[in-house]
Amino acid sequence: MGWFKRSKENISPDSIKRDIPDGQWVKCTKCDEIIHIKQLEMNRWVCYKCNFHFRIGSKEYFSFLFDEGTFKETNRKMRSVDMLKFVDTKKYIDRINSTIKQTNLYDAIRTGAGKIGGIKVSIACMDFKFIGGSMGSVVGEKIARAAKVSLDEKIPFIIISQSGGARMMEAAFSLMQLAKTSAYLARLAEAKIPYISILTDPTTGGTTASYAMLGDVIMAEPDALIGFAGPRVIRETIGKDLPAGFQRSEFQQEHGFVDFVVNRKELREKLILVLEYLS
């Protein structure tokens, strides 16, 4: 696309980070309120003052979604293989190893089964902090296996998405995970097994263009970035800033691509209700 000169004058810098900082007290990214970490946790990592949803990972979601003591993780140690011997500014294999050390996760997704409001479900939850929640072979395979548990046991399937998209370092293999995961979801659909997709900040790229958008019911946390192309790419293509609220959860609901936006504090209750309707 080198034919046109792009104007970058109208483009403002990328948006703020929203991960939970270390320490006992944290400052809300949005309203600057100082909150104790325990208080934040009790409020499911939502600012009690301005409702800002801090980005949390699979550990936190599993902690408040499941009936106590019912969740069992599966395939925890499955990890990536550097098939392509991929090197950018860093070797992929080093990137994987250091990220595993840093995050205590083996890849950008964790799966398992447990009970939510007494209903047994199979679940997959992504973690943005593992290489941007990127989808490679491991994410695809773990979703496929978790979907298969749903099929075999005839129990609902849930995916919580939090991902920048397909993982570049596994190139075409990553792309094929869109097909692999969607093919399994098609099987669930044929068997009339419910699939619920929960979108959190951010859900973009190949993740959105596959399982994230295929739920029988799709719910999203407030103000999460949800889209196909990232805002930076779109800004650079059209050479302008994007309208306020563009690609946010509320925007997606307004345009018909999300069933409803749900506050994290009500996520579990809403999920149980939907599960009851779909059973």
Binding site: F86, S137, A172, F173, A179, A183, A186, G205, Y211, M213
Partner: protein, 316 residues
């Protein structure tokens, strides 16, 4: 022609020009021996260059502005094409073309992304970058093919799905996801051919099938080398390295088991001889069609799932 010479083709063109000049000149001695030597040299150089192309050079060939596009194939290798427009919801996307066509005795639904050849036609075709309505049109046609039991052939040549405001508002991600989902269970054969660029979700949106074929000088990956460079190196300058790292050529993907077959191109690339290229592709399509129409729908869908299920490398 001169405008469309790629950097690595320059030595060839220079020699060929020299030979042409020699042929035009008037000499008082016989130059046929010298000419023969030069021609021999050109052949040698060509062989050398085209059999040692780097991955980036193949990306350049895949984007060659004189390469045959979807409509060129439709007009040369099929007959009685009936183009079908629109997604029945919003409008007709000019970046994706589709309709019924005959490949000799086979009646098929043929669908492909379409680039333009000059500025005007490129704007009309949106540079081969589809919007949601394009993917929805493609899906409508595939469901039509399923209903009337016709195999589907898709031809892919796209720099990606269009990243625009309207595309997002209209659900680019949902449209691609829906296509991938539905294609994975479509009850008629699907043959997918990468004829140029196969960029990411924009390609896969019409790219799930029973046979995935790639022309010799094409690329298929999760991202273009330029965008990969921009994200991982934070600069547009590393596209050559990115192309190497992504291993995006036909031989790479064949080795990984992601595609089924490489379709050879005429010497020097598909753009050197459109008719020969179309003949080769037609032959391959007929081989695959003959094979796939014998398979029962249940088996077809089951094997398709197993095919994609196998893609991925991990350890436990």
């Amino acid at each position: 022609m001169a405008a469309n010479i790629l950097d690595f083709e320059k030595p060839i063109v220079e020699l060929e020009n020299k030979i042409a000049e020699m042929k035009k000149g008037v000499y008082n001695h016989d130059i046929s021996k010298e000419l023969a030597q030069f021609e021999e040299k050109v052949t040698q150089i060509k062989k050398n260059i085209y059999s040692n192309l780097t991955r980036w050079q193949k990306v350049q060939l895949a984007r060659h502005p004189e390469r045959p596009y979807t409509l060129d194939y439709i007009y040369t290798l099929t007959k009685d094409f009936v183009e079908l427009h629109g997604d029945r919801h919003y409008r007709d996307d000019k970046a994706i073309i589709g309709g019924f066509a005959k490949i000799d005795e086979y009646k098929v639904m043929i669908i492909g992304t379409q680039k333009g050849r000059d500025t005007k036609s490129n704007l009309y075709r949106n540079f081969g970058m589809a919007n949601p309505e394009g993917y929805r049109k493609a899906l409508r046609l595939m469901k039509l093919a399923e209903k009337f039991n016709k195999p589907v052939v898709t031809l892919i040549d796209t720099p990606g799905a269009y990243p625009g405001i309207e595309a997002e508002q209209n659900g680019q991600a949902e449209a691609i996801a829906r296509n991938i989902f539905e294609m994975s269970r479509l009850r008629v054969p699907i043959i997918v051919v990468i004829i140029g660029e196969g960029a990411s979700g924009g390609a896969l949106g019409i790219g799930v099938g029973d046979r995935i074929l790639m022309l010799e000088n094409t690329w298929y990956s999760v991202i273009s080398p330029e965008s990969c460079s921009s994200i991982l190196w934070r600069s547009w300058e590393y596209k050559e390295q990115a192309a190497e790292a992504l291993k995006l050529t036909a031989p790479d993907l064949l080795e990984f088991g992601i595609i089924d077959k490489i379709i050879p191109e005429p010497f020097g690339g598909a753009h050197k001889d459109h008719n020969a290229m179309a003949e080769i592709l037609k032959g391959q399509l007929k081989i695959e069609l003959a094979d796939l129409i014998k398979v029962k729908p249940d088996k077809l869908v089951q094997s398709r799932l197993e095919k994609f299920d196998k893609m991925g490398i991990f350890e436990e």
